[in-house]
């Protein structure tokens, strides 16, 4: 126990769109999961840094070789740049969280999309080597479940950018068959919304980043609370367009696949517990902020015996906080085996 004085425990949520860290000293940071390297000497001179991370990288993207390393929840096979980008993000977060200059041992629990865990676990361990002293990697939905103590007969639906991860908690560490990954998630909603807006307003000019912003501000399913009107250029002139129906349709595209996947996982739950799981569906990830999502899923479940869907309070940090709980709860003897 005496060693714990100089011990820093951290929980990290490594996400497609954002990554977050929470530490035993109470620090919390979040960064957009973008990494960019200057494309040439000129760019290097302008940027004055070897690498940019997060919003800074996004803002300077014209000068950068920009990477979003976990595009579909996966580190692309054999992509050195993406591996390097993951390393930059993790290093950046740990740097933000550490107390400069102090000699500390760092124990990290990193939560990653279930698909990454399945495919890139070895790779991730290698990436983290030298950055932390010991390391446990878990799937993101498991971390969320652990953090909010929804450990038994619950279903976590982690609605992220590249993927939505489903995980049913059966009182055991989730196996592959307790989890599902869908690529129907924030990015697919953005793509659909862009398509719908382009069809309805052919003259309007917009980027996918604008579309994402509209969704994040106005995203809803079910009944609209008012008209969704946004401004975008048309023939060079700022124009207001009503995209209420497009936003609804795009967000609504998640409901059917979510319901189908819920049922799919439920079918593998013992019959006597299915009811309890159906009444303990918990939305996480920032996609859970789509207004009315929980209600619409409940409606879909209502036809199938009923259910209750709620959302975590803080989707930005729920994963990192869960990872931190795991880091703090694991025994010293466990940690000794987990040398990075």
């Amino acid at each position: 126990m005496s060693g714990k004085g100089q011990m820093l425990s951290v929980g990290i949520d490594l996400g497609t769109s954002q990554s977050a860290i929470a530490t035993s000293t109470g620090a919390r940071h979040v960064v957009d999961s973008y990494v960019g390297w200057p494309v040439d000497m000129v760019a290097k001179k302008v940027i004055k840094k070897p690498v940019l991370i997060g919003t800074e990288a996004l803002e300077n993207r014209s000068l950068l070789d920009l990477h979003r390393p976990l595009e579909q929840g996966l580190i692309k096979e054999g992509s050195e740049k993406d591996i390097a980008a993951v390393k930059e993000i993790l290093g950046h977060l740990i740097g933000l969280a550490g107390e400069g200059g102090k000699e500390q041992k760092v124990r990290a629990v990193v939560g990653v999309p279930a698909e990454t865990l399945r495919v890139n676990k070895q790779q991730l361990r290698q990436v983290m080597r030298g950055m932390v002293d010991s390391l446990i990697i878990v799937s993101e939905p498991f971390a969320v479940a652990y953090g909010i103590e929804a450990l038994l007969h619950t279903m976590i639906v982690d609605s992220g950018a590249g993927t939505t991860d489903f995980c049913v908690m059966k009182g055991r560490y989730p196996t592959e068959e307790d989890q599902r990954t869908l690529t129907k998630a924030g990015d697919s909603v953005d793509d659909l919304l862009a398509k719908l807006v382009a069809e309805r307003h052919p003259a309007i000019q917009f980027t996918i980043h604008m579309v994402r912003g509209w969704k994040e501000q106005h995203g809803f399913v079910g009944e609209p609370q008012g008209k969704v009107v946004v401004t975008a250029p048309s023939h060079g002139k700022a124009t207001q367009i009503d995209i209420t129906e497009e936003v609804r349709l795009a967000c609504q595209s998640l409901i059917a696949p979510y319901t189908e996947t819920l049922l799919d996982l439920l079918a593998a739950v013992e019959p006597e517990y299915q009811e309890r799981v159906r009444h303990n569906v918990i939305l996480a990830g920032r996609g859970s902020r789509i207004r009315g999502l929980a209600g619409e899923l409940e409606k879909a479940l209502a036809d199938l015996g009923g259910g209750k869907v709620s959302a975590v309070e803080d989707p930005v940090f729920a994963g990192a906080a869960g990872c931190l709980s795991i880091a703090l709860d694991a025994d010293d003897s466990d940690w000794e085996k987990m040398t990075a």
Binding site: L151, G171, P257, A267, A330
Partner: protein, 342 residues
């Protein structure tokens, strides 16, 4: 409806025992990471747990006694002979932290303790005879592919100890109700109908989907179901009645689980070759061939002839082997889960 879930709220029904559950989860996480560190293949944790044999055998006796009581509850009561293997074994595995905690869910007794449950499998190669199913301009037909796939799959299943029957042995026409009747007569434990899809919406589209019987309001599934139902031989009135009698049945859950298992293996295997192939998922639709069967039954659209690339691959023996192998693994995984009691 959408009330927030607090951080660290006391959601667990059992105050003090929560810690033991956490210990179990933590040691699961540690074990999973150890496996990566030691470069062991990713396994299924619960299968590796040791069983306390004395307890297991005591439990076995009790189970044998309770077999007939429990079987119907698990949805297998309608089938030929309920075997002990279909039961949920409430014996706890030797997981130290949670060994004797009645509120934690039971871990399963390993499969080897029980006899195999899924023994007879009826494979149904779609179409046949004058009914070609879908076909490419170059003359590759669904009926030929499905029969060949069924044969390859039968060989694998046979090798693993299943009794396999094909609804048709050669290029013959068979009504859907005949196919179902055959499966029922054989008292099959599983029925797997094999088909190849056709997507109207473009040659670039490639996807896999697996169906079980159930209602649908998906227009695509309805269209597909009516295409596959053409040769039914049922009167319309029969159909309606049949549908109503089956939708509510428990069999649906088992069929869904089988469908999910098969779909997953198919997608995974095909994506090793072609990562772009779409996972169109597990769906329910009113396929008549599934209606009249009395056992868990699925219809797998394993590929699609509308895609030039799929058509090219489907002409190759290697690709057919791959599909057959994936179907085999899906069935195998499902029957293992049944043996575990799930």
């Amino acid at each position: 409806m959408a009330d927030g879930v607090g951080t660290r709220s006391a959601r667990l029904p059992f105050g003090g025992r929560e810690d033991r559950l956490k210990r179990r989860l933590l040691s699961g996480a540690v074990e999973d990471n150890l496996r990566a560190i030691e470069n062991r293949p990713p396994g299924r944790l619960y299968r590796r747990r040791r069983v306390r044999w004395p307890i297991a055998f005591a439990g076995l006796a009790a189970l044998a006694a309770g077999a007939l009581v429990l079987a119907p509850r698990l949805g297998w009561g309608d089938f030929a002979e309920p075997t002990p293997g279909t039961l949920v074994a409430t014996v706890r595995a030797g997981d130290d932290a949670a060994a004797s905690d009645p509120d934690l869910p039971p871990t399963r007794v390993p499969a080897a303790v029980f006899p195999v449950v899924v023994r007879r499998v009826v494979l149904d190669p779609g179409h046949g005879g004058g009914d070609h199913g879908t076909r490419t301009p170059t003359g590759l037909t669904e009926k030929e592919i499905t029969l060949d796939l069924a044969r390859r799959l039968a060989e694998r299943l046979g090798g693993a100890g299943y009794e396999v029957t094909l609804t048709r042995q050669g290029d013959e026409r068979l009504e859907l109700r005949e196919r179902a009747r055959l499966a029922n007569e054989r008292a099959a434990d599983l029925f797997v109908s094999i088909h190849v899809n056709w997507f109207e919406d473009g040659r670039a589209n490639r996807g896999i989907e697996t169906y079980f019987l159930g209602p649908t309001d998906d227009p695509w599934a309805t269209r597909l179901a009516s295409a596959e139902n053409l040769e039914s031989g049922y009167a319309l009135a029969d159909v309606k009645q049949l549908l109503e009698s089956v939708y509510s049945e428990f069999r649906q859950d088992q069929s869904r689980a089988l469908a999910a298992s098969v779909q997953r293996r198919l997608v995974r295997s095909v994506r090793e070759l072609s990562p772009e192939v779409a996972d169109r998922g597990v769906k329910s639709a009113p396929f008549l061939v599934l209606v009249d069967t009395e056992m868990p039954a699925i219809l797998a659209e394993v590929s699609c002839l509308s895609s030039d690339e799929e058509a090219r691959l489907l002409a190759e023996s290697d690709y057919r082997d791959r599909l057959a192998q994936a179907l085999f693994e899906g069935i195998q995984a499902y029957s293992h889960s049944v043996r575990k009691g799930g």
